[in-house]
Symmetry: C2
């Protein structure tokens, strides 16, 4: 059962707009902004509105096909859920960004689960701070 069938089983429809959003995210190497996706789609389909892209990212996230992450403060970044999960360190001074394996974050997740019954998604927001070069 493919994505289209799965969506129909949930009362949703597979539209050309949705297929295009998934296509762009499949080709993207890293996290992508909604604006990037919209621009990329509009290159070949100028009539497709940015608001449709925003709404579809949310719809696809509800079904679990895409997720978002917050790297810097303002812009939300999207990826397909089937791409590998990882954490981020972002320097608030120089803006540099480093990916980190989830296992570094695991002990904290386990502790929050045990002490607060809280299932943390520690990949959802980047860890903000000062990188080695900027901390001096």
């Amino acid at each position: 059962m493919g994505i289209a069938d799965d969506m129909r089983a949930n009362g949703m429809r597979m539209t050309v707009q949705r297929r295009l959003v998934l296509d762009v995210l499949r080709r993207a190497r890293h996290h992508t902004t909604a604006e990037d996706i919209s621009r990329s789609i509009r290159a070949s389909h100028p009539q497709i509105d940015p608001s449709t892209v925003y709404r579809n990212l949310e719809a696809l996230e509800r079904l679990g096909y895409v997720t978002h992450t917050h790297l810097d403060d303002r812009v939300t970044r999207w990826r397909r859920s089937d791409s590998p999960q990882h954490g981020h360190l972002v320097c608030r001074k120089c803006g540099s960004e480093e990916d980190i394996p989830m296992q570094i974050l695991e002990p904290l997740a386990k502790r929050l689960r045990g002490e607060h019954g809280f299932r943390a998604d520690l990949a959802h927001s980047a860890v903000v701070g000062l990188c080695r070069e900027c901390a001096s």
Copy 2:
């Protein structure tokens, strides 16, 4: 040396607008949004523009008098730096919010410092996830 002198020593000026922002934050019990601050100030000083509030929050942050935190996704929340620091757990399903002591986050901060030379500010963004009731 008070805040005003400190600001002047840094080439900044102490204006009525800045004093009002600090006053509102001093009276506020919890994290406050820029919009709240602006509305509160405009009640008595209608001529003060929201853009001035936004700019002043950034200016005061640069000197270390206020900090901001991201709880849910879009809205930035502000507090005076001299109010007690703490972390947050936010449930992505029901929206509930729980404060947690910084010491829970300390082991991760220490590890990031040791293994990556990264000085993490783990109070900057809330930890997103599922609370006990919503975990299904």
